[in-house]
């Protein structure tokens, strides 16, 4: 029973952490972030299974997280009002080629970050962008102006 309870706690704790740290951290995966991810995984594993090396323990831990993941995604699908809470909402960061400073600042995004994301989508100048939207996944979608 203990391992299931720990699994539930770890799942929701990670969920809340991922929601509060902001999208900027989710979208980037620099070498340091990758190392941090491995360290985080190790810390979570130890808290989750502790000294339990059994197959049953692994099954219970993975099963708990899988069931919760499906439950959360089902709730997200069935209850539209939960979506902003569970997934967040997209944020417009460029309108008519003009970066929205207030929204960029809110998500701790710099103009350089925005320009780099645009370049990754073969867009040289932000003025060619009609809309740029910071998605809930942390990636930025660009929609070019019709004449660009």
């Amino acid at each position: 029973m203990d391992i299931v309870l720990r699994g539930i706690f770890v799942f929701f704790f990670l969920y809340v952490i991922m929601r509060v740290i902001g999208r900027r951290e989710l979208s980037t995966l620099e070498p340091f972030d990758l190392i941090l991810l491995v360290v985080l995984g190790d810390a979570v594993q130890q808290g989750l299974t502790q000294d339990d090396y059994s197959l049953t323990g692994a099954f219970l831990a993975i099963g708990t997280i899988a069931v919760l993941q499906v439950a959360v995604s089902y709730a997200n699908f069935r209850i539209p009002r939960l979506r902003p809470i569970l997934d967040g909402e997209p944020i417009v960061v460029v309108q008519d080629g003009r970066p929205i400073e207030k929204n960029l600042k809110r998500e701790r995004l710099t103009l350089e970050d925005l320009a780099a994301a645009a370049r990754r989508q073969n867009i040289a100048k932000l003025e060619d962008v009609q809309w740029a939207v910071l998605e809930t996944s942390g990636t930025i979608s660009f929609i070019k102006k019709p004449d660009a």
Partner: protein, 174 residues
């Protein structure tokens, strides 16, 4: 101005109006996490050891051990008996909280005798001459499922006479 992309509501997604853009819940959660981390820094969740003393005219007992622990931790409890007067047969009596939900890995030096009395664990150390110290170490590992608070008193006896007691409570975090 061009139409907004599908499912983008400019009032919400551009001007950030709506409950999901309220930053207060996010800040509150971050503050709570920070508070837990700061409490951890101040040893609220263990496992920094502390000195606890009990004194009697015949002897002093010093216990150096953590009182706040977490599942899976390895830790040591160090006992120092200082005999002010000759102790003919020093005996330490441990309440059950010392052994409940913990693995006892080592007792060093090995006591002369070990037993049980009325549910308590008894360790016998023998004669300690006046003015001398006797140092004794116990190493434990906390069971992962051990959560809650337990009494972990220890008393020093000399030939059946109680000299002193250290009263303490062990707190185990999950």
């Amino acid at each position: 101005m061009a139409d907004a992309p599908d499912f983008i509501d400019l009032d919400r997604h551009l001007h950030l109006r709506g409950i999901s853009f309220d930053r207060r819940p996010r800040r509150l959660v971050l503050l709570l996490i920070l508070a837990v981390v700061v409490l951890g820094l101040f040893n609220v969740f263990g496992q920094r050891p502390e000195h606890i003393y009990a004194n009697a005219p015949q002897a002093q007992l010093e216990l150096y051990a953590p009182s706040h622990l977490r599942g899976g931790l390895l830790y040591e409890a160090r006992f120092t008996i200082t005999a002010h007067k000759d102790i003919g047969n020093a005996v330490l009596v441990f309440s059950p909280g010392w052994n409940e939900g913990q693995q006892m890995n080592t007792l060093e030096p090995v006591p002369l005798g070990q037993g049980s009395h009325n549910g308590d664990m008894i360790l016998t150390f023998g004669h300690i001459p006046a003015g001398q110290k006797y140092r004794f170490f116990m190493q434990f590992q906390v069971d992962a499922t051990n959560v809650g608070r337990r009494r972990a008193d220890v008393s020093l006896f000399d030939r059946g006479t109680k000299l002193l007691t250290i009263h303490r409570t062990l707190t185990f975090y999950p």
